[in-house]
């Protein structure tokens, strides 16, 4: 078996070579932007900041833009893990990430009250919109958001032809907002809405997927403005209700408390939050999307506007580092 042993050995060496080569390739890829002194730090160390965030931010492309600029400026490797807001905050609770970038004020407050989140800073806002087919079978145009939800509910339970509502159904910030609206419209979400009938569809997916699903079914859905705008060219759906204080959608960054999880990169998180709240970054956020969609996707928050209703948050004070 001498000849075959030789062949086998050659094969193993070849595989090892390929592996080594691949290790080399990918080793350089993520480190391409890093500063030389940072490359020696261990993964998860000071040069990497992990951010759990929402699919609605990821889907707009804003994160990719922020990542590009920040990594160029500082050499820090930003790693965005896009999940629903609920799941993102859970990742923060477990200390699997260094900060969260989310949009569900109630969940955020609880995260902070429980001692897991520190240094919350609001960054920007836009509006949720109720989108639906142009024919508007439930006739909700020009209604207030709460009235619109009541109208959809009534039409849906009466089995009015063509009326359907697609919910994110994933405990995301958008889903949370939707629940708040149902409650304000006078329904118990668990008891009245969840099992209201075939017209209420739970997608269990990200914002983009949910919009595509709603588009396929010609149904109403609640979307953040940013994601809707970035998907608008692939959708037949139109914004039906776009005004009302209840539709405010505020994005905040919250660091994970290093007293709960000593391993988190608290310093990197603080630096990134401070960069996010800097005027230059806000300016960039305020312009993002103008070129592509004709109007910005987000409105940055500045002091003192942010400290007043309806925002009631901190947006300018630097985080101590």
């Amino acid at each position: 078996m001498r000849t075959n042993t030789t062949l086998l050995t050659a094969g193993i060496i070849a595989v090892l070579l390929i592996l080594a080569l691949c290790a080399g390739c990918t080793g350089t890829a993520p480190d391409g932007n890093a500063t030389p002194n940072a490359t020696t730090a261990p993964p998860g160390g000071a040069n990497v900041v992990r951010i759990a965030t929402t699919t609605s931010l990821e889907n707009t492309g804003l994160l990719a833009e922020l990542e590009r600029v920040y990594e160029n400026e500082t050499g820090v490797d930003l790693q965005f893990i896009s999940q629903g807001t609920g799941q993102s905050i859970d990742s923060g609770r477990r200390g699997d990430v260094d900060l969260v970038l989310v949009h569900a004020p109630d969940l955020e407050q609880q995260f902070i009250d429980d001692g897991f989140g520190i240094n919350p800073r609001c960054i920007a806002y836009n509006y949720f919109i109720i989108v639906g087919p142009e024919s508007d079978p439930a006739g909700i145009a020009n209604m207030s958001p709460v009235e619109a939800f009541q109208a959809i509910y009534t039409a849906g339970t009466n089995q009015t032809a063509g009326v359907a509502f697609v919910s994110r159904g994933d405990n995301s910030g958008t889903h949370n907002q939707e629940k708040v609206l149902w409650e304000e419209a006078g329904y118990d979400y668990e008891a009245d809405v969840l099992d209201a009938g075939a017209w209420y569809v739970e997608a269990g997916k990200g914002m983009g997927d949910t919009l595509i699903l709603a588009n396929e079914q010609q149904a109403y859905t609640l979307s953040d403005e940013g994601t809707y705008l970035s998907f608008a060219d692939r959708l037949d759906l139109v914004p039906v209700v776009a005004e009302g204080a209840e539709l405010l959608n505020r994005y905040s960054a919250i660091a994970v408390n290093p007293e709960q999880h000593a391993e988190v990169n608290a310093e990197g998180a603080a630096d990134f939050i401070n960069w996010l709240t800097s005027d230059e970054t806000k300016e960039m956020i305020g312009e993002f999307g103008t070129e592509e969609f004709g109007k910005p996707l987000f409105t940055p928050l500045y002091a003192p506007e942010c400290t007043e209703p309806p925002f009631n948050c901190t947006c300018a004070e630097p985080v101590p580092t």
């Binding site: 078996m1 001498r2 000849t3 075959n4």
Partner: protein
């Protein structure tokens, strides 16, 4: 000197009893054939003797060493023996590498391996396939590779487990020739199992008949064929006539047995009162008329009841109190004008009438 001695060997696989009460002694330099029907335990016995698997019970000594007591020496002993199996076994490698396996296990030097492998392949006529992949060869060629793989290690004892059962006559002849030459020239001890009686007769100095997991009879092949010890052996060695009878008297070295109202003389001392008469078909002579100068002790008329072709012979069944089958060449059957319903005379030497004790069935 006995090179292998086994007593009371027993081997079972779970509830299946493969060998029991096996006693066997193999002399150095002899060719011993184990014959017996399929499933009689021939292969298992060869594996036990070649130390491939242990027996459950019994004594076994090989090259004078008690192998039951000395498990630690099995590998060394096994390396002095070799075995060829029924199915041609080759490994997924070149013919050269296949033949070299045993030598490599024995850590022979590269030069020696090279020399001996090439010699061995020369001897079985496969030199031109040295670099070929062994699995690409025909069945006969593969078996020759397997044989040279065994022979290249110079075994003192060679086990052959139905080595030619799946081969064409030419490959069979080649392998038989090699084995006989090695035995003659190198004094190699050979144990061959076969269900082919003729092969056993052709090759072996001595045969052992295996029936249902044990060796029922050993001896020169002529003994086993003419004087089988019991009905099962008689059936296996192809005896046509096994007739129950009763011993009547014993005089002047001849035993008189009555069967079906007919008295038959036998040269065998009576083994019991109730016996079975064992007569090979080719020992029964047929005549159209009463022979004048017949020296056979048994001579009587009979009626021909059936003729069956069994090329190149015919089986002729005659009735003479009991049914008797005679084996006659087709040519002679023609010459005698044999056909059903004719009267014939039968002659039978007392030496050709073998007696065995009547057993339960």
């Amino acid at each position: 000197m006995a090179i292998i001695e086994a007593h009371g060997i027993r081997k079972s696989y779970g509830s299946l009893l493969a060998l029991h009460d096996v006693d066997l002694a193999v002399e150095e330099g002899e060719i011993l054939a184990l014959i017996g029907p399929s499933g009689s335990g021939k292969s298992t016995l060869l594996r036990v003797l070649d130390l491939i698997e242990p027996a459950n019970e019994g004594e076994l000594s090989i090259f004078g060493i008690d192998v039951v007591a000395e498990r630690g020496r099995w590998l060394d002993l096994r390396r002095r023996m070799g075995m060829l199996f029924q199915r041609p076994i080759v490994f997924n490698a070149s013919v050269y590498d296949n033949v070299a396996m045993g030598l490599r296990y024995r850590r022979a030097s590269g030069d020696e391996i090279d020399r001996r492998v090439n010699e061995a392949l020369e001897a079985v006529g496969l030199s031109r396939y040295t670099r070929s992949r062994a699995t690409d060869l025909s069945g006969g060629e593969q078996q020759r590779v397997a044989l040279s793989r065994v022979l290249v290690t110079d075994p003192e004892v060679l086990f052959l487990d139905e080595p030619t059962a799946n081969l064409d006559p030419t490959s069979t002849a080649t392998i038989e020739e090699i084995v006989m030459r090695l035995n003659r020239e190198a004094g190699m001890t050979v144990l061959i199992s076969t269900h082919d009686l003729a092969q056993g007769q052709r090759l072996a100095h001595r045969v052992g008949v295996m029936i249902e997991g044990t060796i029922a009879q050993t001896g020169p092949s002529s003994d086993v064929f003419r004087a089988p010890k019991d009905r099962r052996i008689a059936r296996f060695v192809g005896v046509q006539n096994i007739i129950p009878g009763r011993v009547v008297s014993r005089t002047e070295g001849l035993t008189t047995v009555e069967a079906g109202g007919r008295q038959i003389l036998s040269a065998t001392p009576p083994p019991a009162d109730k016996v079975e008469i064992v007569i090979r078909g080719e020992d029964v002579s047929l005549h159209r008329r009463e022979p004048m100068h017949e020296e056979a002790e048994n001579l009587f008329p009979a009626m021909l009841t059936r003729i069956e072709p069994a090329a190149p012979f015919v089986n002729v069944t005659v009735h003479c109190g009991c049914d008797l089958v005679a084996l006659v060449t087709a040519r002679r059957a023609d010459a005698l004008g044999l056909r059903e319903g004719v009267g014939v005379w039968i002659s039978l030497q007392a030496k050709a009438v073998h007696l065995i004790p009547l057993t339960g069935h």
